[in-house]
């Protein structure tokens, strides 16, 4: 074979070998793939916890908790309470204590310790909301809100679903949520993601057993710390001149990508970038460490295409909205007209419900 022929064959081989990389890059907007941090210890724990939970259930209970992986139940979540929004999965309040503990063990298995604490803080906040003068439409006094016309609040009003069969290899999902909470963790082999998820809080601060609790206090404080760490020129880029009254990509807005705004992370100093990623980690780090570490590496890899935007006053304690948006992340923080009622959303336009993981 002549030298020219060998060169042509070499060129063909190069083109072929580069194609899968190019295709993956195009699909993910050029983002680095999120690797599994180690060989799926979380997956093993999650499979074990979910399998044990399902085994505790009666047939009727299992019918409410178990769904096919591609079931429409996947997108059946909301920030709204029972009675206004029907979740169609298994309600904690309908479970005996041992089964309820098994359900919460599944949630604990897929989240970090800090994430699990945050989930419990949000749920306890809803219990405070119920006992603090409401919930008459449902809850303790009137039973359930669902089907009785009124909203229901409190610890009983959270729901769990397992989509797909808990597996170390095949895709499956843990869905947990209720009022002001939606956690969607998709597991594919050793990898897992927690998008989309909606952690919210009302009240935003309360006292429980003598302890002051702020479920989303770190998100608030780190957001204000970051905007105040920017100089005037940076703030001029970051602060939007208009009011942002609510989440733009909240519940029901799957599959949408809004045009990013604000200041580019690459225009921040290294110290400010650290603050930005620390802020993002408040959402990313709800997930177990394996999934969260992979996600943080991905976010840092997209530094030059990640934006931080702010709307509202910059004095902590004010009603202010902020957003972090990059190729593989959207985080929004949106007070609902006052600082005691916060909605947030965490999405990955390339990997909501693990769509990117399943494709790989």
């Amino acid at each position: 074979m002549s030298r020219f022929s060998r060169l042509l064959l070499l060129a063909a081989a190069c083109v072929l070998s580069a194609l899968p990389i190019a295709a993956r890059s195009l699909q993910r907007g050029g983002a680095a793939p999120a690797p599994a941090a180690n060989a799926g210890g979380t997956t093993a724990r999650a499979v074990s916890a979910a399998t044990a939970f399902l085994a505790t259930l009666s047939d009727a209970e299992r019918a409410k908790a178990a769904f096919p992986f591609d079931s429409p139940q996947k997108t059946n979540w909301s920030n709204l309470p029972t009675g206004i929004y029907q979740r169609n999965s298994l309600r904690l309040g309908d479970l005996a204590p041992a089964k309820r503990n098994a359900a919460m063990a599944v949630v604990a298995a897929v989240l970090s310790a800090n994430g699990y604490r945050k989930v419990n803080d949000i749920m306890n906040g809803d219990e405070v909301l119920r006992t603090g003068g409401g919930g008459q439409g449902g809850g303790r006094g009137g039973g359930r809100g669902g089907g009785r016309g009124g909203p229901a609040f409190g610890l009983d009003e959270y729901y769990i679903a397992i989509l797909g069969t808990p597996s170390p290899a095949a895709p499956w999902m843990v869905q947990f949520g209720g009022h002001h909470l939606a956690i969607n963790v998709t597991i594919v082999g050793a990898s897992n993601v927690m998008t989309p998820s909606l952690p919210a809080a009302q009240p935003a601060s309360y006292t429980l057993n003598g302890q002051s609790i702020r479920p989303l206090g770190a998100e608030n404080d780190k957001g204000f710390a970051l905007i105040n760490a920017l100089n005037a020129g940076q703030q001029a880029k970051a602060i939007l001149p208009s009011r942002v009254a609510d989440l733009v990509l909240g519940a029901g807005q799957d599959g949408k990508t809004i045009q990013p705004e604000g200041i580019l992370a690459s225009e921040l100093t290294p110290a400010q970038q650290t603050m930005l990623f620390d802020l993002a980690h408040e959402w990313v780090g709800i997930l177990n460490d394996e999934g969260a570490n992979a996600k943080m590496a991905e976010l840092k890899g997209n530094l030059s295409r990640t934006y931080f935007a702010w709307s509202g006053p910059t004095t902590n304690g004010s009603v202010a909205y902020f957003r972090i948006q990059g190729p593989t992340v959207v985080i929004e923080y949106a007070p609902q007209g006052n600082v005691d009622h916060i909605h947030t959303i965490y999405r990955d336009p390339t990997n909501d419900y693990g769509a990117g993981l399943v494709k790989r």
Binding site: L8, A12, G134, G150, A245, E261
Partner: protein, 220 residues
């Protein structure tokens, strides 16, 4: 302002104690109107999510339920949706553009009265075939501006030839101008990249083999 407060107070009183938590938990006296726009070369599509707060919901329901029978008929829902879309003022490069209703979803009366029902509209407008260069799409939502809380955002265009270069809004997002640039550069759709690349590789390989065969024949 006083009238608005009075309306809110009356609505709260009518809602009664059993709604206490619901009222605390959700937007009260505002009509959230969130609009997202997707620009393409010859069209703009709009998604609108309209959520009347519990205190203003009775007024919105009254507007929709024109015959006052307590039922939101299909015809009434269509008429209201059309009314909202026609209240939009839109211009491309200063020239008026009129969006038309493509579809709508109306929630149940209970959800509307709870302040959680979302009226979802889809609309679109044909755009004059845009040329390469900079363009400005202006939107002003005039629907119920007395009680509105607006959100207005551009979605990232599906077409790589269109790049959003800026979004300008007024203080309350009633107005949004999307600045965008149409580039004449031809880009292949992602879905074609793989087959075209594979064909190129096969072609190169065939060429190499043919060349090798010819070389052997010449040498013999």
């Amino acid at each position: 302002m006083r009238a608005r407060l009075l309306t809110l107070t009356m609505a709260l009183a009518l809602a009664g104690v059993s709604r206490e938590v619901s009222l605390e938990a959700h937007r009260l006296d505002e009509y959230l109107q969130a609009t997202r726009l997707m620009v393409s070369l010859d069209r703009v599509t709009l998604e609108m999510d309209l959520t009347p707060g519990v205190a203003v919901a009775p007024a919105i329901v009254k507007t929709i339920d024109t015959n006052g029978d307590g039922v939101l008929s299909e015809a009434e829902a269509d008429a209201y949706a059309t009314q909202v879309v026609t209240s939009l003022v839109m211009k491309l490069d200063g020239e008026p553009v009129q969006p038309r209703l493509d579809g709508r979803q109306m929630p149940g009366l209970n959800a509307l009265h709870e302040g959680t029902g979302v009226i979802r509209l889809r609309a679109s407008a044909a755009l004059p075939r845009t040329r390469t260069g900079d363009h400005h799409l202006f939107l002003r939502n005039t629907h119920r501006s007395d009680i509105a809380a607006y959100l207005a955002n551009a979605l990232v265009p599906d077409d790589d030839r269109i790049g959003i270069t800026g979004q300008r809004r007024d203080a309350v997002q009633q107005e949004l101008t999307i600045d965008y640039r149409v580039s004449g550069l031809h880009t292949w759709p992602t879905s074609l990249a793989f087959p075209i690349g594979a064909l190129a590789a096969l072609g190169l390989a065939a060429l190499a083999l043919a060349h090798a065969k010819n070389s052997r024949a010449t040498n013999q």
